[in-house]
Symmetry: C2
Subunit: 232 residues, 2 copies
DNA sequence: TAAGATTTGTGCGTATGTATA
DNA sequence: TTATACATACGCACAAATCTT
């Protein structure tokens, strides 16, 4: 077997043994090349394989850093999907799974503080991080208050932008509940994880500046890829 | 932008313009490096990116070949999902999306040659090739004839194996209809393709040696990744 | 069949650019 | 400002597999 591949396997083993921990730097290419007794280019080829696998990433002038694969999803007063992901230099994408207009259930009406005779708009979406589906959201919104919500959302694919167009310039969390669930078969396929693998589920209400509820929603995160960072 | 990246983009453009066709060889690294006026290593880096994307692959001593990414799925008298994929040295996997027992529709009853009062078992599955979901199947089976079908299928995850256990040692296609559809949002997410991207849809009946229908089913294939190879 | 040419794979060395510490 | 660290690019040499004569 080639030298660079042996070194790759050796480094990978060290990484899986947590010899180098997520967020930490590896020794420099110069040090590694001396340690393994090879040219720097040879080490670079080994490292490239680990970068391709997303285990490492490099910063020019700084060093090579062990990737913490779990995405740190910030949950605070203002939770913004796309912004959260762009802030960490990843690429966000939202796709619509389905939508529905129907009468509110008791719980939905209570949480949205609307009459239970009123209709709600339900939207289910998949959120992707770097093209990997990892977040599923089910939103319930008053259809009476925002009759054009879906039409706009379909084009914008962003809650923040849609609400802005509808005149809601800011909104924030009233509360957030975090629970754990197991993925069922449909969720496993949609979220690209295995059946029964753990999901983080958040249930929350977003309200406007007048404290009026806008949406009552639930979001599922793939536990293996995402960690929730709670803020004040 | 770096030279190797510009060359990568140039080659990628040529490939998408079908200047080099699937199965064909590219000019050798030596020729390419002279053509672009760079060192051979520089060309190799450009090519490596295209190899990583699965667009090219190389054979030592032979050359660099344009990959035909589309999987050749054989449709003939006997169609066997797992075997089809194993035969081409890929890894098959089946996951269950959902199942349902209900009364047969008129069309289902007619195609299964059963009384329309009878119940049918509906199973929706996702078929993966090398872990990439690319095939969705919706099967309708007589629940009266095979009351234990789902219990067995759930463990076996194979129609062939399930039927064998149920005493049906062989089965074959009565007919197959091929049509084209566009992926809707749910299909796009399940099959990891874009909305409106083309799907190949087959509608067919599998029957046993006594010509009695076993299943009336529909299968969707992602057109970008799969081509159907019709056999006699 | 065998020898030689071609083509990709691996490895080292050197030099310079660019970003960070 | 200086030193360090990663990024890019060229050149040389040889190995390994394949193709051609």
């Amino acid at each position: 077997m080639s030298i660079y591949y042996q070194i790759y396997e050796s480094l990978k083993k060290d990484l899986s043994n947590n010899l180098y921990k997520p967020g930490e730097k590896l020794p420099s290419e110069k040090v590694l090349s001396k340690r393994f007794g090879v040219n720097r280019h040879t080490i670079r080829r080994s490292l490239q394989l680990l970068k391709n696998e997303g285990i490492l990433f490099s910063k020019r002038g700084s060093g090579i850093i062990v990737h913490d694969n779990r995405f740190k999803y910030k949950i605070g007063k203002r939770v913004r999907f796309s912004q959260n992901i762009l802030n960490e230099n990843y690429v966000p994408e939202t796709t619509i799974l389905r939508s529905e207009i129907r009468k509110a259930s008791k719980i939905e009406a209570k949480n949205l503080e609307i009459n239970s005779k009123h209709e709600i708009l339900l939207i289910e979406t998949i959120g992707k991080i770097n093209n990997v589906p990892s977040i599923k959201t089910k939103r319930v919104i008053s259809n009476k208050r925002f009759p054009d919500f879906f039409d706009i959302f379909q084009k914008q694919l962003s809650i923040t932008k849609t609400l802005k167009i509808l005149g809601v310039n800011d909104f924030f969390r009233k509360n957030t509940l975090v629970t754990a669930e197991q993925a069922d078969s449909i969720q496993a396929n949609l979220l690209h994880c295995k059946i029964n693998s753990p999901l983080l589920k958040t249930t929350y209400i977003n309200q406007d500046l007048n404290l009026i509820p806008i949406e009552y929603s639930q979001t599922w995160f793939v536990g293996e890829r995402i960690q929730l960072a709670l803020e004040n």
